[in-house]
């Protein structure tokens, strides 16, 4: 399994760069991962989504779909795509240090 160093710590990731062990994540890593994805600064709504993603993963064992995010995170679908232009569920999962959600919707 590949590993990489993010914000000074070595973490386990898969081939696409998603965390395989979310407990290795911290907020400094999120800042660095966001920059890699083209988000220079994580704003409050970004953090709302990131923390929501992690909570959903803890509760359900999988990250939420964009639709679920839009309905329950308090951030609308429209805003989600503005915050994470390269696909909210996927991009936010990567930054939040959880595996990539596999839903079709």
């Amino acid at each position: 399994m590949p590993t990489r160093t993010i914000a000074g710590s070595e973490v386990d990731v898969n081939d696409e760069g998603f965390f395989t062990d979310p407990s290795q994540w911290n907020e400094d890593m999120a800042v660095e991962l966001a920059k890699e994805s083209g988000i220079d600064e994580l704003t409050d709504p970004h953090w709302t989504v990131i923390h929501f993603m992690r909570k959903e993963y803890d509760d359900k064992g999988t990250g939420p779909t964009v639709r679920a995010l839009g309905k329950t995170s308090g951030v609308t679908v429209k805003e989600l795509y503005q915050l994470f232009p390269k696909g909210p569920a996927k991009m936010a999962a990567k930054i939040a240090g959880i595996p990539k959600p596999r839903g079709c919707i």
Binding site: V66, R67, G70, V77, Y81, G87, K90, M91, C104
Partner: protein
């Protein structure tokens, strides 16, 4: 036999080829004719792929304000449903089968067609109605939901679709 398992690369950059843009055409007006195109468009946006949706012919019903809540499964001439044609033609069969399927769709947490269309528009996908079909069915802009960006010709569609893949459903 080649043992190279790496993804195909584009000749100029050496970077893996990815899909950057799709245009999905929805031409059918049945439940099973509309959902696949919506799922393809929404899925594209979810992957960060630019997407446009072009509704043509009976596919226009998916964005028709008064019709898009009443999209039905075809129970006649639909062998995939495994219902005998004579049975599928009985009054109310289409409504019953539609109800059953809608329930199954909801259980999978897939949105209804009106909600799905609105959501896809919110993802930033372009939503377009085909002018020839709009004229054919004597419809007007006011017949469609507000999420429709424009009524466009086939030529304009190709302009919008330029540089991407086209998916016809």
């Amino acid at each position: 036999m080649s043992t190279d398992t790496s993804p195909s690369t584009s000749t100029d950059t050496g970077a893996p080829e990815t899909i950057e843009k799709v245009s999905v055409i929805i031409s059918k007006g049945s439940l099973d004719g509309i959902y696949p195109g919506l799922i393809m468009a929404n899925g594209a946006r979810a992957e960060g792929i630019e997407a446009n949706v072009f509704f043509t012919f009976f596919g226009l019903d998916a964005i028709h304000a008064k019709r898009h809540e009443h999209i039905k499964v075809a129970t006649v001439g639909n062998p995939g449903l495994h219902v005998a044609t004579w049975l599928g033609g009985l009054p109310g069969m289409s409504s019953v089968m539609t109800h059953v399927m809608e329930k199954q769709i909801e259980e999978l947490d897939i949105p209804s067609i009106p909600e799905f269309v609105e959501m896809i528009s919110d993802t930033g996908a372009g939503m377009y109605a085909c002018k020839a079909s709009v004229d054919l069915f004597k419809m007007e802009r006011s017949d469609f939901i507000e999420q429709v960006d424009d009524i466009i010709t086939v030529g304009e569609f190709y302009d919008i679709a330029a540089g991407g893949h086209i998916i016809f459903t």
